[in-house]
């Protein structure tokens, strides 16, 4: 019974855990429940990935209403891969939240915080697993509304404006997506993704279809913070509670990118997207601009969280370039970076969360000389920073390697130079933090600081270890990513 219902349980567990957290009302109990649920969710997504590893597809009809009428949950390898990313980050971040949240939030809000975090997790998992375009919108709203409130819980009062800014931008994004779905529904009379993909090819040339494609792409581009639609992101990450920054940076934009990949490759199809709509003409220049501008702006930020928020904009640029390469290798690089960037940003933001836990803020000024007091935290920061730069032996190297391979395949030498240049800029902005923390002097009037408690260090180092493990043992991620990419490019394998 449990095995059969796994796809539903994956979303139902966190969704029902949220109201239970409110009923428990005590932060400590809510945290315990949320932790158990996040681990159960991780176990579920591993079980799902195991079932589809050979390329099978699991279907789950809600209420036994058969698709295309009812809501269909579909687990294929791509979905299972992204589910694993999201639930892995959830299973590490929620236990970490116990200590971090108890200092950053007043106790009356803590149970609500875990309820929101679980709702956000449920929404993100649902977006990945659903096979219904409208259901995707509903789950997008569940996760987004939870996210807005989570960001607003930040200690700094500027968190409120950041959350409001994101609320406006996110709602525009979701509305655009909904308009696109409305147009598709008008054209085809169906909302089921598999059903849509069968009906779309017959409509080629219809300007309504073009409009629908444009609305959906721009809507999702807003949610995934594609340059120049990224303006909500830096403030949202910078002012949110530390746990929320880590969770969002590692999952939210990735899931939106997953939705875009789903629409480009599964619903609209490679043929339509690249030869009729020429999306590569949009994704490549904007991806390149995002990489360059995001990296350069990151160098000039004063807060560690803002540096990494802008760095996220740059990293999303890499993923868009991978799609724009229109090849199996390019898509493999995107999928790899989806996984790898989640690992490095989670590790980085968890380390930053520890600094914020001990120091109260994460301005570069207050980090001066901190490495002597908190050697383990800063070591975690340095290792995951190396991964962000792309040093061999870390996950960052693997995805950049595939991106460069993809560019070389097409003979696009300038792109290779760009990736290397952007990595050098990453050395700069990581270097600024490391220089201050390791070679700066602790101000004389600064209160003494101790190393962080194990409850925070252990989850952080688990993420750091994952950065190293998947950087060396690449067969799992690379094997899976290249199989998914080959499957998605389908008959039009190679360049369409």
């Amino acid at each position: 019974m449990i095995a059969e219902n796994l796809p539903a349980l994956l979303v139902v567990m966190p969704l029902l855990g949220a109201p239970l957290c409110i009923l428990l009302a005590r932060g400590r109990w809510a945290w315990l429940l949320a932790t158990l649920i996040s681990w159960a969710v991780l176990a579920t997504s591993i079980a799902l990935l195991w079932q589809v590893r050979e390329g099978a597809e699991l279907h789950y009809a809600f209420g036994d209403w058969e698709p295309p009428w009812g809501i269909d949950y579909v687990v294929d390898r791509l979905a299972a891969y992204v589910l694993l990313i999201v639930s892995l980050i959830g299973a590490v971040v929620v236990p970490y939240a116990g200590r971090s949240v108890s200092t950053e939030l007043p106790s009356r809000l803590q149970a609500l915080f875990y309820a929101l975090l679980l709702l956000c997790l449920a929404g993100l998992l649902g977006i990945v697993i659903t096979g219904d375009a409208f259901n995707l919108f509903v789950l997008l709203e569940i996760s987004s509304l939870a996210t807005y409130s989570l960001i607003a819980l930040g200690r700094d009062r500027r968190a409120l404006t950041a959350a409001y800014q994101y609320l406006i931008m996110g709602t525009i994004g979701a509305t655009f997506y909904l308009i696109g779905i409305g147009l598709l529904y008008m054209l085809t009379g169906t909302l089921n993704m598999a059903d849509l993909s069968e009906r779309v090819p017959a409509l080629t040339g219809s300007s309504t279809l073009h409009t629908a494609f444009a609305f959906i792409t721009v809507g999702l581009a807003l949610k995934l913070a594609m340059f120049p639609l990224h303006l909500w992101l830096p403030n949202a990450y910078a002012f949110a509670p530390s746990v929320v920054s880590a969770f969002l940076a590692a999952t939210a934009t990735k899931v939106a990118l997953y939705a875009m990949i789903r629409f480009i490759y599964s619903v609209f199809g490679v043929e339509f997207t690249f030869t009729e709509m020429h999306i590569q003409a949009l994704l490549l220049p904007l991806g390149i601009a995002g990489v360059l501008i995001g990296s350069v702006v990151a160098v000039f930020q004063h807060g560690v969280k803002r540096i990494h928020a802008y760095s996220s904009v740059a990293q999303i640029g890499y993923m868009l370039i991978g799609i724009g390469l229109m090849s199996v290798t390019g898509l493999t690089a995107t999928l790899l970076h989806l996984f790898n960037h989640a690992l490095m940003k989670a590790a980085l933001f968890l380390a930053i969360g520890i600094l914020s836990f001990r120091l109260g803020d994460t301005c570069l000024r207050s980090l001066s000389g901190i490495a002597r007091e908190m050697p383990w935290t800063m070591a975690a920061f340095v290792v995951s920073g190396l991964s962000l730069i792309g040093v061999p032996g870390t996950v960052g190297f693997v995805s950049k390697w595939y991106l460069i391979l993809g560019a070389l395949e097409q003979g696009w030498w300038p792109l290779v130079a760009l990736v290397i240049l952007a990595s050098l800029i990453a050395v700069l902005y990581m270097g600024r933090v490391i220089e201050v923390a390791y070679f700066g002097q602790r101000p004389d009037d600064a209160p003494p600081v101790r190393e962080a408690p194990l409850a925070l260090l252990v989850p952080t180092w688990i993420m750091v270890a994952a950065n190293l493990y998947f950087g060396i043992e690449t067969s799992v991620t690379v094997g899976l990513a290249s199989e998914i990419a080959t499957g998605l490019m389908g008959t039009a394998a190679g360049t369409p």
Binding site: V12, L16, G63
Partner: protein, 138 residues
């Protein structure tokens, strides 16, 4: 609010019917137009009218705000609980057919229960929002 006798008396006359109509919309939702969301909004509107005519403090004595968040959570749990129950009875999530001896009755009970969950949550959240705005201190 100065005690306006006309408002108070008309409010007193109307509120029972608003609440009754909310219940009608709630439980008639499976035969005609209506359902949990509309019923929840109507019910909350009845209480809000009471708060407008008799003051927020009186409304808060009627329905303690501390009770509202757990109520909102309970509604969601009732909805989800029906789904979990159908899974425990061996069918997919929210397949109500297994809730009674035959499928028709099962579907009937299922939709009534989940709509009740929706109604409770919507009414509670509407009142939460209303109280949050009216009891702002700063």
């Amino acid at each position: 609010m100065n005690d306006d006798i006309v408002l108070t008396v008309i409010g007193k006359l109307l509120i029972p019917f608003i609440l009754l109509f909310a219940l009608y919309v709630q439980f008639h939702g499976d035969f005609g137009p209506g359902g949990g969301f509309q019923a929840g909004v109507l019910f909350a509107a009845g209480i809000i009218l009471y708060a407008l005519t008799n003051g927020t403090a009186a409304a808060m004595r009627l329905i303690p705000p501390g009770l509202l968040a757990p109520l909102a959570a309970l509604g969601v749990l009732l909805y989800g609980g029906v789904g979990v129950a159908t899974m425990l009875l061996g069918r997919h999530f929210l397949n109500y057919s297994v809730l009674a001896q035959d499928a028709v009755h099962g579907q009937h009970y299922g939709i009534l229960l989940i709509e009740l969950g929706v109604g409770i949550t919507v009414a509670a959240v509407m009142l939460l929002i209303f109280f949050a705005f009216t009891s702002r201190e700063d």
